[in-house]
Symmetry: C2
Subunit: 192 residues, 2 copies
Amino acid sequence: MESLLKYIRNHIELTREEEEFLVSKVFLRKYLKGQYVVQQGDICKYECFVLSGCTKMFYLDDDGQEHIILFSIEDWWTSDMGSFITQTPADFNIQCLENTELVMFSFDIIEELYEKIPKLERFFRQIIERAFVASQKRIVRNFALTAKERYLYFRKQYPKIEQRIPQYMVASYLGITKEFLSKIKSQLSLEE
Amino acid sequence: MESLLKYIRNHIELTREEEEFLVSKVFLRKYLKGQYVVQQGDICKYECFVLSGCTKMFYLDDDGQEHIILFSIEDWWTSDMGSFITQTPADFNIQCLENTELVMFSFDIIEELYEKIPKLERFFRQIIERAFVASQKRIVRNFALTAKERYLYFRKQYPKIEQRIPQYMVASYLGITKEFLSKIKSQLSLEE
DNA sequence: AATAGATGTTAAACTAGATTAACATTATTT
DNA sequence: AAATAATGTTAATCTAGTTTAACATCTATT
């Protein structure tokens, strides 16, 4: 739990009481590799801060194909925000790719935290603003860049994630097939 | 300006004083068709609420190709949020597709409004949450749907926008060429 | 009414990336 | 150590969407 506080202290200053209040309201949950945090159709009850491990968030389309939207590792957040804020069934799945420890912020608790600690509401607003900006930029990259360029960008931007994740999941995140990513990689190794 | 208040009243309740404070801090600006609200490289100084008219936000890639990220009409917001929150040069352009009236929220003013009217900060957080969710869902649609399916979704979701906008811009928004959208439309007209 | 500029259509040739399928490699389990 | 499952590679064939280019229509301006 200390690394959650460290993360928060990195951005805002809370009093000792505020920190204690926060810690008393959230709880830690451990998942094994392969377990689901959220399943498509369930209501997403928590926003989760990743203490350790790794998760993927993905959409399962009508053909059963998996489309990975987001990987989350230490110090990142994960949740189906659409489901969370409306408390309606989730469109996405969140599954652990490693044994994972999450700090769970429930819907009611988060409202209570916003109420009691306005600084925290401001901080969360800023986190969401940044997430939104990143998401819009990803849309542009998907339009303006080729698969190879997107892969190079991913590799540069998230070198730590690439190493922890099977290649076919990277392909899914990039919106291409595993075979095509394999081709791109062999092309790149010839170029170098 | 009344329609801004109407929009806000639709979601939260402000006191008469709060409304007056808000109105005293923002200002209205009129643009002609074709004018730019933000240009790639400039710092985006305002978040803008659309009173009337229509804007497009787009990215110009290295080949000079335009990629439309967002159309905004009455009661929508527009800004390059990435530039706005960091006050660094914008990646995107925002241009008016019709004569357009915007309510301008500057960076400093918006901070002041958050400070004085916490309800407003909460409201803006919720707006951004929804924008983020919409953006993530668009990423999925771009991966999981064909161009034809994306077009049908757009037509259903934003019927009012389609009517106001040249077809080649719809194509850009969908991430396809104008020629291919034309083909899709002629296919659809044969089917019906 | 004529011209010019902006928008939309059609069709042929082309390409980035998908599909299929067979095989190779690496982990994991027994 | 063998067997099984999971992951990764290669290559041939295929397709959704692009490119190019010529033409059509619509709108605004003189």
